[in-house]
Amino acid sequence: MNEQLARDLERDIASDPRTNELGIRLQVRGERLVVSGEVASEERRATVLEVVREHDTGLEIVDHIMLSAEPGPGGPDHEQIDPPQRS
């Protein structure tokens, strides 16, 4: 049943208009509900956790959500793309 709960929650987080986050994973580990995956901002992390909390699971929510690396300054990576070499 835990597996079912986790999948249901994942689906809700994907379809809830406040979140629409497709990359959030949930796992039940004993009495704990682990929320993982990547979001783009603190605000989006908070909203995901809010949606999870709305489901009265009775489990302790563990936040393992990662913030995606914010694109930093500095020169961009250039990669040269060569035409096919035919010998």
Binding site: N20, S41, P71, G72, P76, H78, E79, Q80, I81, P84
Partner: protein, 247 residues
């Protein structure tokens, strides 16, 4: 060897008001690095016009032509047409089964774009069989590849020095490695790859697969790059594409 045409690309920026200010400072002066900036869909998080404004405001900072395709997120609120109109009004080129050319110091860059759709890959793809819903799903996937092929055929008539195919969905599965295999049919479409292989494309750029990897090849050896922002972890990548034939 002729000079390369410098193609900057990113996808899946999923903009909304909370991410305002994240891209603009990094896009200022991009003309020093690139001749054009391609954005491979999922410009917005929920597909609202408000979010599209945030995208337009951020990407206004780029001082090179900005060419985009929409992604599935940009369709979510049913406002895709309004989003496309707003972006067009803001000077962004929105490609959907269409192409454009840009004159650069190194030659003419041609870009054909399509959002694309699900379907899957050889041996593991949706089949045009059974219920009408299944046929509609499969048929749309096949149709979208035909749309890309026609756009690329038309573009060939313009004789670009470098041809780039831009899509949201992946044309190959190489760049999906890292994503759970169960969802690959929802991430890409091998027919897009076939269209790319048959139309003289030099580089294919896509997004959508946030957990995939950057580099792959089509069956015929055309370089494919997944530029989803969570994959490249930068504001954009630049591909210096060397034209096939010297001018």
């Amino acid at each position: 060897m002729p000079d390369p045409i410098r193609v900057a690309a990113v996808g899946d920026v999923h903009l909304a008001d909370d991410l305002r200010g994240r891209y603009a400072p990094l896009l200022e002066g991009i003309s020093g690095e690139a001749d054009a900036l391609l954005v491979a869909g999922d410009l917005t998080q929920h597909g609202t016009v408000e979010e599209a404004k945030a995208f337009a405001d951020e990407f206004d900072a780029a001082d090179v032509p900005v060419l985009v395709v929409l992604g599935n997120h940009d369709y979510h609120s049913g406002a895709d047409r309004d989003i496309a109109r707003l972006l067009t009004d803001r000077g962004v080129t929105v490609l959907e089964g269409t192409s454009t050319t840009i004159e650069t110091d190194a030659g003419r860059l041609g870009v054909a774009g399509v959002k694309g759709f699900c379907l899957g890959f050889h041996g593991r793809c949706a089949a045009d069989f059974g219920e009408p819903e299944m046929k509609a799903f499969t048929g749309h996937g096949i149709e979208t590849a035909g749309v890309l092929r026609r756009a690329l055929d038309d573009l060939a008539g313009e004789e670009p020095d470098v041809t780039v195919a831009l899509s949201h969905f992946a044309p190959v599965d190489d760049t999906l490695i890292g994503e759970p295999k169960e969802i690959w049919p929802f991430l890409g479409n091998y027919r897009l790859g076939e269209a790319i292989d048959e139309t003289g494309v030099d580089l294919a750029v896509h997004g959508h697969a946030h957990a995939g990897r950057e580099k792959g090849l089509t069956p015929a050896g055309v370089p494919v790059r997944n530029v989803a922002q969570p994959v490249i972890q930068a504001a954009f990548r630049v591909y210096d594409v060397v034209p096939r034939r010297s001018a």
